[in-house]
Symmetry: C2
Subunit: 108 residues, 2 copies
Amino acid sequence: MPRICFVLQVKPDRIDEYRERHRHVWSEMRRALSEAGWQNYSLFLRPDGMLIGYLECEDFEACRAAMAATEVNARWQTEMSEFFTGNGDSAPDAAMQPIEEIFHLDGR
Amino acid sequence: MPRICFVLQVKPDRIDEYRERHRHVWSEMRRALSEAGWQNYSLFLRPDGMLIGYLECEDFEACRAAMAATEVNARWQTEMSEFFTGNGDSAPDAAMQPIEEIFHLDGR
């Protein structure tokens, strides 16, 4: 299963609120992500607001498109967009640029 | 299984060489990582040299200590240390500071 990593930047003065919002992600949003093929998906937040996403999916563009086609994602991304900086006019999900994987060890 | 993410900074003028070295990680090093409990371990390298590590392990401090106790890790970290910036006198593995996970979706 391919592994995807991306980085976004949360506004430093919105970090606590962003963290809190992610304790209560709508169950409808979680279900939509699962159905769109987003597996083993984690978000890590550094104290300076750097947000690192990691997920596993067969085809990231297909998983992203499947998610983008849902009504709940549109609502979620609209609410999240104000937390980010540096994305220009893009919604946060559109700004997720996969970073090159240079090493992998399954280790199991 | 807990998930760990860390960030290091590769010197911009050493990025290509760092990538190339990770195409040929010693099998002895890979085996040692597996035996020390480093699972599903990936490294992602951004064009500006930001290196993101992701792994899964029962107890990161224990996995790190188990790895630090191996002879092959000492040799590997010595060779890798010159690729990094901002670690002070620390070996790269000692500079791996886990970043807070604020969201997880298994999705399976």
